[in-house]
């Protein structure tokens, strides 16, 4: 089975984020595989271990992204394609066009991506890729099985679980709970240094940089407002309910 994983390198959102000149300061920031994409990598490797096949990681980003690629290869992916080209660094439109162009001429049965990126919260890229390739997609998957020529997936549906089937080839996006990603072992890390990473430029993909240029622009990046201290409402249940509704109406204006 040929499995393709769409992966993004993000900064570690659990570390302290500092903004400078309207951007996240990269100084002191640790870069990681987007955690949802890590589920995707893990699932692909598990499927390969069970069914056989080849796992190819595809990613877009600057030179530093190579460390994330090596990590995926160390976990057990077989090969990688890295689009390290300024023309590919745009918004969801740009990246999905690039990824689809990379994938379309390759053999694939299954494409797995993260459900969203933790840095900018984007959840569009993978589903756009499915659309561009003309394959079905199943998003926010928490369980995945291959059953002959089709996949059976469980997905989050507003607190319930929906069971969805689709024929291969198909694109699925990974949700938290799908699996527990492994740490790359030291043997895996050693092997990863010998696995191939193909570098591809936008022009080589037959794409017109202008046509895929970003359609949106970032106006401003701000940190979330500092959380104020909480307040415990006093009195009996009735009084507390009334006070709560009043607060929700007047102070936070959510009602």
């Amino acid at each position: 089975m040929n499995i393709i994983v769409c992966m993004k390198q993000t900064f570690d959102t659990e570390a302290r984020i500092v903004l400078e000149n309207g951007a996240v300061k990269e100084d002191g920031v640790q870069f990681i595989i987007n955690p949802y994409d890590e589920y995707a990598v893990e699932e692909a490797i598990k499927l390969k271990e069970a069914e056989g096949g080849v796992v190819t990681v595809v990613t877009v980003g600057p030179a530093r992204v190579e460390e994330a690629i090596r990590t995926a290869l160390a976990m057990g992916a077989d090969e990688a394609i890295h689009v390290e080209d300024e023309a590919a660094f745009g918004d969801e439109v740009t990246v999905s066009e690039v990824l689809a162009a990379v994938i379309k001429d390759r053999p694939y049965d299954l494409i797995i991506a993260g459900n969203q990126a933790v840095d900018d919260g984007s959840g569009q890229v993978a589903v756009r890729v499915a659309e561009l390739l003309g394959v079905p997609h199943i998003s926010t998957v928490t369980k995945l099985e291959i059953n002959g020529g089709e996949v059976v997936a469980e997905r989050d549906a507003e607190g319930d679980t929906e069971i969805v089937t689709a024929p291969l080839p198909v694109l699925v996006t990974a949700q938290q709970g799908l699996n527990e990603p492994r740490y790359p072992s030291l043997i895996g890390i050693r092997k990863a240094s010998k696995k191939p990473i193909a570098k591809v430029a936008v022009a080589e993909l037959g794409l017109d940089a202008l046509a895929i240029a970003r359609r949106s622009s970032v106006v401003e990046i701000v940190l979330p407002a500092a959380k104020g201290a909480g307040r415990v409402l006093e009195g009996d249940t009735g009084a507390r309910a009334q006070a709560l509704v009043r607060e929700l109406r007047q102070t936070s204006k959510v009602l």
């Binding site: 570390a15 460390e67 990590t71 160390a74 790359p184 030291l186 890390i189 050693r190």
Partner: protein, 591 residues
């Protein structure tokens, strides 16, 4: 790395180092960083969640986690590939050690197994011993311990009383004696035990746990590192097959001292990991703890502590990776395929015995300084066991004692240097003679217009102080200098200051040349360290001079000293506030 440019052991005493040939953490490869990250993830995912349980000595859990570490390859770094290990470089195994230390004293169980437990076989085992034991040690299938110390022999390791007697049929050595403070003794499957054949020939043996007559005493109730097992080991007529003699009979000291060299720099690497953890814990506390309606991190005296903790950690880190990198470069010159590869490797590491001692002293004293200031930043909370800094403070203390006390290591630094000079491995005498000539004329002042110019000057001057004081000491005492422990310790501290200042300086210079984004911060660390250490080097020299001379002789020497110690001090208040501001912003160690 070209052999003509590689760092040579102890050369820093006589010649200026070269920023291009020192290894620095900025030289870590992608593979190095990934190994560090896997180790960190193992600590975060497997060790920290059960840290409390480990602290209460659940040995089954410790063994399970060591095996899990084995599955990831974290026990195989130093074992050659031919014996199912990974055969990684020393920088990789050091990075594993540094990260593991962040998980508390589980690091001791790991370190004793992969270090003193396994390395004697890696370096001194014969092929059949290696084949028999190393694959299991690399996987964690078998766990190892090391038994050198005895109730009556600690620093005087060769004074061991444990005996080995060849059996009448020549098939076994029969071991009798008691070993003390044996790490991993609760669960180790394999012990490296030192004993004297016929009460004379100090030798090492591989002894399996299930050997009849081998038993352990009760767990010691320790001040710290409680997650590690420490017991006495009792040997009563333990029959050890002759093929388990490790190395040649009567050559156990070679094994013991070589393993100590490695143990010493690895201990320092662990101290760097511990210091970073204590620093970051203290930074987070200082930012949340409020007094006078503001976080205590906003007070300059707290900031000063944070800056000093980070600066010392930076210097320690610069030292340990300079030494580790230099050892790797030396090992690259060796053909590691032959049967005697292990011995050759141990010999190559021995070239850096002085650096290993410096690492040990500087690393352990840095960690002790950092945890002490960490407790101080925590105030009363630092004295309460609910706060991790309390454990770190207790765990730190042993580092100044084991792997050779810091006192023994201080004596070893000038002692080993003199031996190297006599063997012609370091051109100490020509350097001291050249200095005497130089001191007749004027000394070039520091170039204050150059970035780190004063610091470069300070390093050059401390080298001269060492050669000046050391040269006079050799003239005065000759061979008897060995008995002048106070002078030796002062000389050792001068040597440590020199290696520390130079390692930090070369790293910062290299970072600057390569446009590293923390080059400016590194330069601030160097300026602060030199500002605090240069006056100390002057004091040490003065102390040595006053021990050896008096009256006009002393006055003449002090006038020379003054020539060498002219340096404008920087504004340390500005430096400390600047450093602290950076670290408080990101809440972690930066370099």
């Amino acid at each position: 790395m070209n052999s003509s440019t590689r760092e040579r052991g102890a050369q820093f005493f006589v010649a200026e180092g070269n920023a291009n040939s020192v290894f620095t953490p900025e030289d870590f490869t992608e593979e190095h960083r990934m190994i560090a990250r896997t180790t960190a993830e193992f600590i975060n995912g497997e060790i920290l969640p059960v840290a409390e349980q480990l602290e209460h000595q659940d040995w089954d859990l410790t063994v399970k986690l060591l095996r899990k570490a084995g599955d990831l390859g974290l026990l195989a770094a130093d074992v050659p590939e031919a014996y199912d290990g990974l055969g990684l470089d020393k920088v990789s195994s050091s990075l594993i050690t540094e990260q593991i230390t962040r998980g508390g004293s589980f690091a001791l169980s790991h370190g004793a197994h992969v270090g003193i437990g396994s390395l004697p076989i890696v370096y001194f085992g014969n092929d059949s011993q290696k084949k028999k034991y190393l694959p299991d040690l690399a996987s964690g299938n078998k766990l190892a311990a090391y038994a050198l110390t005895e109730p009556g022999s600690g620093s005087d390791a060769l004074g061991a009383r444990t005996t080995a007697k060849l059996s009448a049929d020549g098939q076994y050595y029969i071991l009798n004696g008691t070993k003390q403070f044996i790490t991993n003794s609760a669960f180790a499957d394999l012990f490296i035990i030192y004993a004297k054949i016929d009460g004379e020939q100090f030798s090492a043996f591989i002894v399996e746990r299930d050997s009849p007559g081998l038993s352990t005493g009760p767990e010691e109730k320790k001040m710290g590192i409680k997650a590690s097992s420490t017991r006495p080991l009792i040997l009563e007529d333990v029959r050890v097959p002759v093929e388990n003699l490790l190395g040649d009979p009567g050559r156990g000291h070679v094994i013991a001292f070589n393993i100590l060299n490695i143990g010493r720099y690895k201990l320092a690497v662990g101290c760097v990991g511990g210091a970073k953890e204590a620093l970051e814990t203290s930074i987070r506390y200082a930012k949340t703890r409020e007094q006078f309606n503001r976080p205590i991190a906003s007070f300059p005296l707290i900031q000063g502590k944070i800056a000093d903790m980070a600066m010392r950690t930076f210097v320690a880190e610069s030292i340990v990776y300079r030494t580790t990198g230099a050892i790797d470069q030396a090992l690259e010159e060796i053909d590691l395929s032959g049967a005697d590869a292990g011995r050759k490797a141990a010999k190559a590491i021995e070239e850096f015995a002085i650096e290993c001692s410096i690492n040990k002293v500087f690393g352990s004293e840095t960690l002790d300084f950092v945890v002490d200031e960490g407790v101080q930043i925590h105030g009363g909370a630092g004295f309460i066991q609910d706060y991790p800094i309390e454990r770190m403070y207790r765990d730190s203390r042993i580092n100044r004692i084991f792997e050779g006390t810091n006192e023994i290591n201080r004596l070893l630094i000038p002692g080993t240097l003199m031996k190297k000079a006599l063997k012609g491995e370091v051109a100490l005498l020509p350097a001291a003679q050249a200095l005497q000539q130089e001191l007749m004329g004027p000394i070039e002042p520091a170039d204050e217009s150059e970035v780190l110019g004063p610091e470069r000057h300070a390093v050059a001057m401390v080298r001269k102080l060492f050669l000046f004081a050391g040269g006079l000491a050799v003239q005065k005492y000759g061979q008897k200098l060995e008995q002048e422990q106070e002078v030796l310790a002062d000389l050792a501290d001068l040597g440590i200051a020199l290696y520390g200042m130079e390692s930090a300086l070369l790293r910062a210079q290299k970072a600057q040349t390569n446009g590293h984004h923390h080059a400016a911060l590194q330069a601030e660390y160097v300026r602060l360290y030199v500002a605090e250490t240069f006056p100390e080097a002057e004091r040490l020299t003065k102390d040595i001079l006053a021990i050896m001379e008096d009256g006009d002789g002393l006055r003449t020497s002090l006038s020379v000293l003054r020539k060498l110690t002219r340096l404008l001090p920087p504004n340390t208040m500005a430096l400390k506030r600047g450093i602290a501001a950076r670290l408080l912003e990101v809440e972690k160690y930066l370099a």
